[in-house]
Symmetry: C2
Subunit: 107 residues, 2 copies
């Protein structure tokens, strides 16, 4: 995704996957992207996972209120509970206010 | 890496690698981690790249001054120039202040 104009908010989610329920995980992960995209204040999402199961997902939001709305979504709450108990060996989430942004594509 | 106590700063670097110089890229990427780790105010770094070349690296810093110090490092300046011209099809960098953090390991 391209860059919104700062300030905006980022939720940085780092995780290590360790599960025998990969199909359930993949299905829920795709559903969460679909669901987040429909939330008020959603700006975008980037997700990368390597072959060893280490992943970083960054979702972008207009405001703290938008993040709160997403956090309180019932289907998202249920997915987080599955994540904690069945999918992730570890995870870390950080809420951050983006103050500067730059970059682009090579010609 | 584990979580420092907020507030602290994150530099979110998203990129798509597209190069015929993968060895040069890998060598420089490892050197940048080594070099950043020795900078004043460095807190940690997480880097994930998938098989298609999409990557997210998040580096963590105590302050904006620490980020400025790292940005002005001469070897880092040279590496960024190579990144722009030879390694990345696209990249986006964001500087963000982390306000809340949580997470942990599964028992």
């Amino acid at each position: 995704m391209d860059l919104p104009k700062p300030p905006y908010y980022a939720v940085i989610f780092r995780s290590r996957l360790d599960t025998d329920d990969e199909a359930g995980y993949a299905q829920t992960a795709a559903r969460m992207v679909e669901l987040a995209s429909g939330q008020p204040g959603f700006l975008g999402i980037t997700s990368v996972r390597d072959a060893e199961g280490a992943g970083v997902t960054v979702s972008y939001w207009e405001s703290e209120e938008a993040i709160t709305g997403w956090r309180e979504n019932a289907e998202h709450i249920a997915a987080r509970e599955h994540g904690r108990t069945r999918w992730y060996a570890e995870f870390f989430a950080e809420v951050a206010k983006v103050e500067r942004a730059y970059g682009g594509r090579r010609d």
